[in-house]
Amino acid sequence: MVSPAVLMLFVWMIVPLAMTVYFSTQYYNLLYPGKTSFVGLENFAYFFTYPSFLTSVVNTLLLVGSVLAITVVFGVLISVLVDAPFRGQGIVRMLLISPFFIMPTVSALVWKNLLMNPVSGFFAWLSISLGMTPVNWFSDWPLLSIILIVAWEWLPFAVLIFITALQSMNQEQKEAAQMDGANALAVFRYLTLPHLARPIAVVVMVESIFLLNIFAEIFTTTSGGPGDATTNLPFLIFTQALLEFDVGAASAGGLVAVVLANVVAYFLIRLIGKSLTEA
């Protein structure tokens, strides 16, 4: 028995997708209202041969991969660090998870203007105080800058989940390991990390969903540049949809993005096993 709600959900989800599929076969440019016509797969061909297409796919994967790596690694380290009780633990956790509540646009604006600005940003001041030349974040390390911002936004999510997971860790296992002669590092390596395998899988899965769709941060800071340095797939689609107003090509791009997402998901699921839907 599949409940009617599942069916409703299904319909609900399929409508936008179906419309996208439909539009992807049309020449449909908002600026030329009269010229709409069926063009088959031309939109896909156009999208694929877009000069930035390959770069954007690479950037998308780089962005997703690096942010995942940063958030998982630092998320694990930080959550292990703050796991044991200490004075002010509650406040520390509160501070740690705060970035999660900040709008992406706001984070991007704050990082771009207040922190990473090479002339009057806080980082520039730090570098100068330390006797170094300020880094030109968005021109010299554009993708890295985006990665940093996005990682900062998503780190709290990873920390949240890992803290939750650590709370459920079996204390007696740790003690058993201590009696077996394990020091803190060995406990971390042989007990904590394996215990976090599933939460890590979850973080990877959930974050991938969102990271594949990163747009606001790029739009607000670099607008995909300089060059194609920070153009990812959603941003490329954005240029189609809202600069060229080419709905057909944008729809095609959207479908390509879904396919790419599924490819990524396929590998993720291969990587992290069945732990997501099975007990």
Partner: protein, 417 residues
């Protein structure tokens, strides 16, 4: 009660209008104004989506010189005719009016206009015993920049737009290309990005800005440069004339008395070396409150409104560049050191003849065709990439040429059909 939804850009002048519109509401108690204030790019996307899909969300929109004629031609805008005599249509600057019309039919009324001019720091020039000519060339600018550049003291020789965007770096780059004798398209719509003029201009731009510009110029747009100049970090700055009001404003500038003004630099020609941009108010054809909307936009662009601004914020805050009468006003000219340069820039920028070579398009720093936004954004991103040092200028111009041609082709420019 009539509710007017007004889409507008978050510029200083527009924000001022938003505040002053309380007076309008007081005078028209049956009209309520709802403001949608967005930054330029977002606003443009928002308005385009709405107007092209006939969404009917806006009664008054703020559009630029780029959209006005295109949208007017598509009949997405209401033609503004039979304006009352008191409005003084003929008082509008001719070049500005030309920008907002299609075949003589006016589709939007100008709120303010700007040309591009050269800002410089008189104190720094004096210190180095330099003098800025009235009509500098880019070559001269480069020379000054080299002398003024002193990063250790936080002074950068020249600030220019580097942030990608057809309304950002491409506005400046296009005027430079124009000055170097180039153009976007030849008469048969073949792109000329790969031409020697483009190569010279862009190489010059990238070289100068990388050497004597602030750090990370590829992410600086108008705002960032303005901030830099106001913080006293730029020796020179070539940008929109509206900034004159800001750099001389004591509440936000650290160098209000040290700013000098000159024409935008020329090179092989002066033609098209200064841009012309107008923010204008228009009424979408889909609005169901045409009359109220018309009344409002006429008020907001009237001489009376100018007077109101002068009275509230000082005379130099009057919306620049739209009315001849403003520049006939001695008080304004005296209070506003950059008025004359602005006026000249606007008077000389002829959108129908932006280059020494003939062109098939209208517009100084842009072409009023729907594809321009796309192709210029694309080229802009490539150039900012070159500025960031990622790629070679010559290579990206070649790539851009192909990409632009591809887009033009898809849009049917070379098709017999």
């Amino acid at each position: 009660q009539t509710f007017l939804t007004i889409g507008t850009v978050n510029n200083g002048d527009m924000v001022r209008m938003q505040l002053l519109a309380k007076e309008y509401e007081a005078k028209h108690p049956d009209v309520r104004l709802n403001w949608v204030v967005l930054d330029e790019n977002t606003l443009r996307q928002r308005l385009t989506t709405d107007i092209t899909t006939n969404g009917g969300q806006f009664d008054v929109i703020t559009i630029g010189a780029y959209e006005a004629p295109m949208w007017g031609r598509q009949n997405w805008l209401t033609e503004l005719k039979n304006l009352p005599a008191s409005y003084g249509v003929d008082d509008l600057m001719p070049n500005v009016r030309k920008q907002l019309s299609v075949d003589g039919r006016l589709y939007a009324v100008p709120f303010y206009s700007e040309g591009s001019i050269t800002y410089y720091r008189t104190d720094l020039f004096a210190a180095k015993q330099l003098t800025m000519p009235e009509e500098p060339t880019w070559e001269q600018i480069r020379g000054f920049a080299e002398k003024l550049h002193d990063p250790s003291r936080g002074i950068y020789g020249i600030c220019l737009r580097g942030k990608a965007g057809w309304g950002e770096n491409m506005a400046l780059v296009t005027t430079m290309v124009n000055a170097f004798g180039g153009r976007w398209f030849d008469e048969r719509w073949e792109p000329e990005i790969d031409s020697p003029e483009w190569h010279k201009a862009v190489n010059f731009y990238v070289d100068m800005l990388s050497k004597f510009g602030p750090p990370g110029p590829s992410s600086n747009g108008f705002n960032e440069n303005l901030a830099l100049f106001n913080a006293g970090k730029c020796g020179m700055w070539v940008d929109a004339s509206v900034a004159g009001a800001f750099v001389t404003d004591r509440t936000q500038s650290q160098v209000p008395d040290k700013a000098g003004f000159a024409k935008a630099p020329r090179q092989v020609t002066a033609k098209g070396s200064s841009w012309l941009w107008t923010w204008a108010l228009a009424i979408p054809a889909s609005s169901r409150k045409q009359e109220a909307a018309l009344d409002f936009i006429l008020w907001a662009t009237s001489q009376e409104y100018g007077g109101l601004v002068a009275q509230r914020y000082g005379i130099s805050a009057m919306p620049p560049g739209t009315r001849l009468s403003t520049y006939a006003n001695q008080a304004y000219l005296e209070a506003t050191p950059f008025a004359k340069v602005t006026q000249e820039a606007i008077l000389t920028a002829d959108p129908t003849s932006p280059s020494i070579k003939p062109v098939p398009y209208v517009g100084v720093q842009f072409a009023t065709i729907p594809e321009f936004q796309a192709v210029a954004s694309l080229v802009g991103r490539q150039i900012s990439g070159a500025l960031a040092g990622n790629t070679q200028v010559d290579k990206i111009l070649h790539t851009s040429q192909g990409a632009v041609r591809r887009t033009m082709k898809r849009a049917g420019y070379y098709d017999p059909k």
